[in-house]
């Protein structure tokens, strides 16, 4: 039986008079890799923000493994197993890569409140940070400030940050945005190589990346779901072609 990792009912977010998300219902079984696609302004990022707690939805509900999290603060959702990356790179520029990861590692446990011991004294944290950097292709960079590494490397760091909160469901908001084709391939390989027990919900503009990684695809347009199906079904659908690629 497939437990639902995520269940969203009739979620809406209204800004002024504009319904950015307009009654979206979505169910993602545990372990699935779901990709959200849709043209600019379809409401993908707003939907993400409502699910992860950055924004409060106007109505509707969000359930994580059966538990209603609609009103929970973002840090609580992280503790319950939501991890996320941001569309606009959101790392700590003045901190080193090692310190960036150390924060991600202690963020979900009580060690973040410790005052009397230097972070460096936690060997376990240091080792986990080094290991994690190596896994995302940033080996040997632990002592560099994040502001001095390239944009592509910051995207890799962004992914490593999300992975170190021990997510059960991982939300990736355009992980490949602004990357060169080579970097894009590297990130998508990294995502493909994630353990299968992490449920994935991902926004992606690059159709090759999106359809290559997805088990299933949800198409959003003007704040509503217009189609849900396998990558092949989506690729073949005329309506998707119409809204997504424009009129041919």
């Amino acid at each position: 039986m497939a437990e639902n990792a995520l269940r969203i009912d009739e979620l809406a977010k209204v800004f002024g008079g504009l319904a950015a998300v307009d009654g979206v219902s979505l169910t993602v079984p545990a372990g699935e890799r779901r990709v959200l696609i849709g043209p600019n302004g379809a409401g993908k990022t707003t939907l993400f923000h409502c699910i992860t707690g950055t924004l409060r939805p106007t109505r509707g509900s969000v359930k994580l493994f059966g538990r209603d999290v609609t009103r929970l603060a973002e840090y609580r959702r992280t503790a319950l197993g939501m991890g996320r990356t941001f569309q606009i790179t959101n790392v700590f520029p003045d901190l080193t890569l090692g310190e960036n990861l150390a924060l991600a590692i202690v963020g979900t446990d009580r060690r973040k409140w410790v005052l009397h011991r230097p972070m460096q004294a936690y060997e376990g944290v240091r080792n986990q940070a080094l290991e994690s950097l190596e896994r995302v292709g940033l080996a040997g960079r632990a002592d560099q400030p994040a502001k001095l590494v390239s944009y592509g490397e910051r995207r890799q760091l962004e992914l490593a940050l999300a992975l170190n909160t021990r997510p059960r469901v991982l939300f990736l908001d355009e992980p490949c945005a602004g990357l060169s084709p080579a970097e894009r391939q590297r990130i998508s390989q990294m995502i493909a190589g994630l353990p299968r027990d992490i449920t994935l919900l991902m926004i992606e503009h690059d159709m090759d990346v999106a359809l290559g990684l997805a088990d299933r695809v949800t198409v959003l347009h003007q704040g509503r779901v217009i189609l849900e199906g396998s990558p092949d079904e989506v690729r073949a659908n005329a309506q998707v072609r119409d809204v997504y690629f424009g009129h041919a």
């Binding site: 950055t54 700590f92 963020g107 005052l115 230097p118």
Partner: protein, 314 residues
Amino acid sequence: MEKARIALLLVALAAALALPFTAGPFWTGLVTQMYIFGLLALSVDLLLGHAGLFSLTHASFFAVSAYTVAILHVRYDVPTALAAPAGILAGTLLALVFGLAVRTRGVYFILITIAFGYVVWGVAHRWSSFTGGDNGVTNVPFPAIGAAAITSHTQYYYLVLAAIIVCGLGYRVFMRSPFGLGLRGIKASESRMQSLGFRTSAHLYAAFVLSGALASFAGVLYVYYNKFVNPVAASFPVSVEAALMAIVGGTGTIIGPFLGAAVVLGLRNWVSSFFEMHASIMGAVFIATVLWAPQGLVGIAGRIRARWRKARRG
């Protein structure tokens, strides 16, 4: 730590220890003040330099603590061993309330802390039956715990020196702790910290209370030095100056706030001896710092060192 820096600190320590013997009581007194206000500036910088919160209410904790100590000593004859901790406690309790300011950010945080500061100043100023009004509370004795009693300003100088060294060392541990790193994370990106599982408002609240406790400790040191406390200690300019000391010296460091205190107090003492409008000179120094040396004296020192190294290599 590098050898050069350790050597520099040792020289500074030796100079600090030798000061009462080589300079007169005037200088000893002035430097004691620099230590005390440096500590107050350090408490402000805990929020400013690490968490990115600009508080303008730290004179409140400083003054409430000083008043508590003074009133307990003078009116109730309470010994130091109780009065001093009571002072820190009173200031910290106030910080527990004023910490609500962390629900706001940016300019709103600044405005609300200014308002808090005026409340405390107003109480000190107008509730004369309790606070002594403009005259404040006078005749505070030197601290004494059992047989160990301070009897001179020179002895008190050494006590304050020991206190700031202990605070500086503790602060250093705090800066490097997971909690301290968390504050720097919040300063850089609060949204990212939340998504990493940090309850950032609670983190900032805890930092605010800690910072208030440190300011309260500075208030205790102040009242035993000054021998009296009046509403000036709670006034807005004290909060502003503490923040500016941190900025002039260099935020986000330990030595910076103390350097800033030395510059501000030293300059004021010197300039006021021959120029009536000394406050305007202070203003000019602050403006110049913000415009040309936002990293303060510590930043300037760093730049000079970087240039040196480059010159030696090139």
